[in-house]
């Protein structure tokens, strides 16, 4: 049941609106209840082929030899795709916002870094024939020691998961193996606290489990273009990622999507489109690549696990005076989006509370598991779990009601947040008050009267003196450098005709790509 509390903050709103605020029926509801909403897989194309990938059976192994001879001769096989067929096999998703180094192949070359990593793609007339050919692909593995625990991965001598990041951590600003947050003097704050509480929290990985699995259908279109029906959550991320990997101009593709059977963050990674389009390029036929449910669950990217340590200093009267956080994001074998989640997480510290001394170190760590990606609550869900369990423990420790404890420490308009921006438009206190009212949870008068609009600012707006860490020397000139940073080719070649069915697209002479870089520089700038 949902109740709109129009009485609260009424003076900040103009409610004189016609369409806004109405519970209008969804535009897509009729399609949904009649089953006529068109998802990517609802396109029936003549002569469609089926693409499936051979996945690594090892979590970490060198690939001695991949033999596809027998598979190529298998009945119904139209094409076997190997890493060498992919124009730009190495990519990282956030290269489109110039963040991070290309670290992940579309198909494994010399090594596999997680169980389920794609090695070879099979394009066949039917799913059954694709399965038969997959069984005939011979992969000779040399198993390597694997690491699955984020803190084990950081120890010296741990197996190197991803050679692009030999320390098993993403590199921030060329120098740091973690994202920092520094606000005030946390050690002084802890030293002056009445109680100090340090705790460890562990968030599980999570599978998005949309009822529609990831997938796409690609087909040759007129004028040498390819039409691509896709389940993507980010249409232009997918267009430009494919343009980069396949090394063609982005207008080679006509992407159609927008009606997706659930995503929750699990359809951001463009995991099926590049191979699917390449399959269509190499065969001249429509190709479908849809993840099976087990593939989706085990090898589709999950929400990454996080391990979080929180150390808080609290006064007897309930004021939190210091919060020190160390968090490890389990990125799996490749970066995908975890590097970014760590930054978002650092910005989220210390939660919606005004604490004068806050310190955060957030690591993006590589392990030999399925690469993690975004999910609903990206970078924040696990930290909220940790912070709010910690808040409950702190309230217990000082003998305060947990609701009142939160109101006491809540951020208010005009306060300085730890990422050094003024808090505005806050409403935590009111949410606590209304939830208490709904749950018939008694609050004392002073807490019932508290307001997000009062009592903030003043000395709460100050940044206390903040000690700085010693800065290490950069390991390399520019670790964030990607192929996108290379000098642009002065004149572009005209768009090549679609390649003949049996041969891979010609490798370009000069490094070039058709993708759009979404933004200028992030992460390379130094202060």
């Amino acid at each position: 049941m949902l109740e709109l509390r129009k009485d609260i903050f009424a003076d900040e709103r103009d409610d004189n609106l016609k369409e806004i605020g109405k519970g209008t029926q969804r535009q897509d509801m009729l399609g949904h209840v009649t089953g006529t909403s068109t998802y990517f897989d609802d396109h029936k194309l003549q002569g469609m082929l089926h693409l499936k990938v051979v996945r690594s059976t090892h979590s970490h192994a060198r690939l001695r030899r991949i033999d596809t001879t027998e598979a190529e001769r298998s009945a119904g096989v139209r094409r076997i795709i190997r890493a060498a067929d992919i124009p730009r096999n190495l990519n990282t998703l956030l290269s489109l916002i110039n963040f991070g180094k290309d670290d992940e192949p579309s198909l494994a070359v010399d090594k596999v870094r997680y169980k389920g990593e794609p090695i070879v793609a099979v394009v066949a007339d039917s799913p059954r024939e694709a399965y038969e050919a997959m069984e005939k692909v011979r992969v000779d593995y040399e198993p390597l020691p694997a690491v699955f625990d984020v803190e084990e991965a950081l120890k010296s001598g741990a197996p190197v998961v991803n050679e692009t990041y030999p320390k098993n951590t993403f590199t921030y600003y060329d120098v740091y193996d973690h994202q920092k947050l520094r606000f005030g003097d946390v050690e002084r704050g802890l030293a002056g606290a009445d109680h100090v509480l340090e705790q460890r929290y562990q968030m599980s990985p999570i599978e998005h489990a949309p009822t529609e699995t990831n997938g796409s259908i690609a087909a040759p279109d007129t004028n040498g273009r390819y039409v691509v029906y896709t389940s993507t959550q980010a249409l232009f991320f997918s267009v430009d990622t494919c343009a980069k990997i396949l090394d063609v101009p982005s207008n080679t593709f006509h992407f159609i999507g927008g009606t997706v059977g659930g995503g929750f963050g699990g359809k951001v990674d463009t995991i099926t489109e590049p191979l699917c389009i390449l399959g269509a390029m190499l065969t001249g036929r429509p190709v479908r690549y849809v993840l099976g449910r087990e593939e989706e669950m085990q090898y589709g990217p999950p929400r990454g696990a996080e391990r979080i340590y929180i150390k808080d200093g609290v006064m007897r009267d309930g004021r939190i005076v210091a919060r020190k956080v160390r968090a490890y994001f389990d990125s799996g074998a490749y970066t995908r989006l975890s590097s970014y989640a760590a930054v978002k997480c650092a910005a989220h510290l210390p939660g919606p509370y005004t604490i004068p001394n806050v310190y955060g170190d957030v690591y993006c760590v590589f392990t030999n598991r399925t690469p993690a990606t975004a999910m609903r609550g990206f970078g924040v869900t696990a930290m909220d779990f940790a912070i709010e369990c910690q808040m409950d423990k702190l309230a217990h420790l000082v003998g305060m009601d947990p609701m009142e404890f939160r109101i006491l420490n809540a951020y208010r308009d005009g306060d300085m947040k730890a990422h050094r921006r003024e808090a505005k438009n806050t409403a935590l206190i009111e949410c606590v008050q209304v939830a208490a009212e709904k749950a018939k949870w008694p609050l004392r008068e002073e807490f019932r009267r508290a307001s997000s609009r009062q009592g903030g600012g003043g000395e709460r707006a100050a940044v206390s003196p903040t000690p700085r860490d010693a800065r290490p020397q950069p390991a390399m000139a520019s670790q964030q450098r990607t192929s996108y940073d290379r000098a642009p080719v002065a004149t572009r070649e005209p768009q090549p005709p679609p390649p003949p069915p049996s041969s891979p697209p010609r490798a370009p002479a000069a490094p070039s790509h058709g993708a759009t870089r979404f933004s200028s520089v992030f992460g390379t700038r130094r202060r």
Binding site: H32, V33, E212
Partner: protein, 158 residues
């Protein structure tokens, strides 16, 4: 390899197709007949997105051997409307905002129809049981349960 001829009733019309050995009914409906209303969610029998009625009984089309419906009657979501008019369940799902991404909706509706066809006035527990083979990742089930109850009682919004 020879294909097998297969005839059955699909939403009240006779259809004839040729299937490969081992083809499941979901593939036959979607790829050979072109009825896209049943959805592929798992192929394992775990999600219910492919649910259809066979001779009025709820079945998972992904686990049904296409050949086994020879001479039988298969109803999908595409066949539950009365001419241009929505089935009361479709209307109730809409009124109760019981769909978000919409991907589980065809299967949910068929599961709900299988219930109401047999038991027009179910209890909440019976509704819960009836949709228990269908996964919805968006709604938290509450609006779906309310929609089925509303359809049963002839109410619009619960």
């Amino acid at each position: 390899m020879a294909k097998t001829a297969l005839q059955f009733r699909h939403n009240g019309r006779d259809v004839a197709i040729f299937v490969d050995g081992g083809t499941n009914l979901l593939v036959a409906l979607r790829e050979l007949i072109g009825d896209m209303t049943p959805k592929f969610g798992c192929g394992q029998g775990g999600c219910g997105a492919c649910s259809v009625l066979i001779d009025g009984e709820l079945h998972l089309s992904c686990l049904t051997l296409a050949e086994s419906v020879a001479g039988r009657s298969v109803q999908t979501l595409d066949g539950i409307k009365d001419g241009p008019n929505l089935h009361p369940l479709q209307r109730a799902f809409a009124d109760n905002f019981a769909a978000q991404c919409g991907y589980c909706t065809p299967g949910m509706l068929m599961a709900a129809k299988a219930l109401l066809d047999r038991n027009p006035q179910p209890s909440r527990e019976e509704v819960v049981e009836a949709i228990s083979g269908n996964i919805c990742r968006c709604t938290g089930y509450e609006p779906i349960i309310n929609a089925v109850l509303a359809a049963a009682s002839g109410r619009a919004r619960a």
